[in-house]
Subunit: 362 residues, 2 copies
Amino acid sequence: MTDTHELTARQGLLLKLIVREHVESTVPVASRILVEKYNLTFSPATVRNEMAALEELGYLSQPHISAGRMPTEAGFRYFVARLMEEQALPLAEQRRIAHQFHQARDHIEAWLPLASSVLAQTSGGASVVTAPRTMQPVYKHLELILTHGRAVLLILVLQGGMVEQQMLALSEPMTQTALRDAADRLNQIFAGLSVVNIEARIGELPSLEADIARLIVSIMRNAEGMPSDEIYQHGLSELLQEPEFIEGDVASTSVVRVLEERSLLQAVLSETLPPAVGIGSVRVLIGGEGRWDELRTCSIVLARYGVMDIATGALGVVGPIRMPYGRTISAVRFVANILGEMVYEMYQPGIRETFPDFAEQL
Amino acid sequence: MTDTHELTARQGLLLKLIVREHVESTVPVASRILVEKYNLTFSPATVRNEMAALEELGYLSQPHISAGRMPTEAGFRYFVARLMEEQALPLAEQRRIAHQFHQARDHIEAWLPLASSVLAQTSGGASVVTAPRTMQPVYKHLELILTHGRAVLLILVLQGGMVEQQMLALSEPMTQTALRDAADRLNQIFAGLSVVNIEARIGELPSLEADIARLIVSIMRNAEGMPSDEIYQHGLSELLQEPEFIEGDVASTSVVRVLEERSLLQAVLSETLPPAVGIGSVRVLIGGEGRWDELRTCSIVLARYGVMDIATGALGVVGPIRMPYGRTISAVRFVANILGEMVYEMYQPGIRETFPDFAEQL
DNA sequence: ATTTAGCACTCTCTTCTTGCGAGTGCTAAT
DNA sequence: ATTAGCACTCGCAAGAAGAGAGTGCTAAAT
């Protein structure tokens, strides 16, 4: 990438102002406007000279020779890395959001949609929220439901309340009662165990139970790896109103596709925000960073939320490259924190359940 | 609405051809083109006369005086009601789709996304699929997981494999062991019961169990009413490529909003396709029908799938008003049937479980 | 050595004009 | 009832012209 040349103080100031102005106006910004609007102590001609320098460095560009300048992607990156100051959400808004989440406390199923809609509203872009996934799934309860002939519905409840479902086919017919007994036996043995421990004890089991146990292991393995395919979104219609997307052109289409194509989204998420990344740290992806062609026309602000090493999800905002990064980053961080707290309270028990004695002491 | 005036055979033929031609070309169709392309036995002048008559009746319109004619919404409605013939999917495609579903048999979680993507692909529009909901939920199994202090995660498994989750707060702290005992007692009593039966027996229970039972009743009540808020979509980006939506105008925005705003979508679904509607019957909504302003620029083809009175969901395609209705309706019906079969196999047990003896006989 | 005023120059955007071609409506003949 | 013929309408594309915005450069000022 562009070596981050050090800018002079004045160049930094100008880049900052140009970004601010461009974000607000959506059009290239002229030297005169800048001087007038911000009461600069130097003249438009000076500004133009500096602009030429900044263009030379690759931070600005002009759409055509007689137009003002606008930041390049490199310019935005420099801005985000060095010049930007975060703009905390107004206190009133913070309170409003906290209140909404508080009200949804008992409705788990409402958490993620709420986070998504809050993010979209406060950021003005399109939001994405993935369900939290645990890193070390722990067996909690198994339910086997006979559905049809030899078809069985397997429901596996993991610690922390995650639920996985799968159909399976028996090699020979069984009654519901026999199935329930098998499930009960497995529950007896496996409750509270992690994948490795379950795997270790498969040998002890009779063939039917062993088969089911193997399936359970594969489900749990799967749960620990993949990012959740449970993804919530909001605000796409607002995003498409942004001037860079109104041209029903390739630009808007590719953004829609990014949000629609789960696999693409998951690739972006898991690559730029691997589960290992610290909770609360916010990543900014500007214009696809040369990695993602479909993102060339937009930027993404991402964060991981949840409880490190226990259960985390990703959440973020997709907007135009010309985006109020300060505000958006704050919003993403804020929502990530508040959602993280709720998940934390819910997963807390990881300890208490494994050591019930400890819980009794409370 | 327009009284469905009876058209002469020739007027019907012309309207049909005009629809077909317009759907294909996206532009107003001229009298001469029609005659040449379909080797009509009468002249363009005659066609023009008939066109004038059809326009008088409200079935055709011209964007401006010297342009060809295109169907009005009323024209499309007449076409769908009287003139259209359904175009079954090519056998090869049917087989391909059936194969895909067959492969996904054991992965319930993949059914709806698959249905959605298949629909979008075969129809070229944007698809919507809602998860099936049962009309008469039956209690199957309860799981109570202590999470934090007095916070408890309640997981309720209903017959057929539906899973509902909710958080609740205890009035005083309990151990996980005590919670499990309570859940076991409730499971003992309630397994296999419907809402009314559960309600009838709340009186017999000690206070803690009674509280939980009341919560369960409200959850089950809720499950039987609402359409599912689990909604899958696909193909929006393709839809936005259609010529009527490329103008980033109000048109495209309103479509995106329809698909994004769950409440709106659910309103449309539950009003035009109430759970009582027969399985397999396909409904066509053209241009919002004056009821839905956001749908003014598009049409929707909807069907209900599943097992009548047991568990049903809705599924459909959103496309431009200028849509190949014959093909789309076939596609929707086909996918509804195939998905319905899968749900049927899964819910079949309703009988077998309630009368285990019956299952033993198999 | 910077900074700045002044000015010529470039390029887009809007508006207007013009001409073309597609398609119709009408009339009169079949 | 149908149709050929023709005048007429109207959108659309291409071209022309003018305005306006903004720069780059040069030469003067600090």
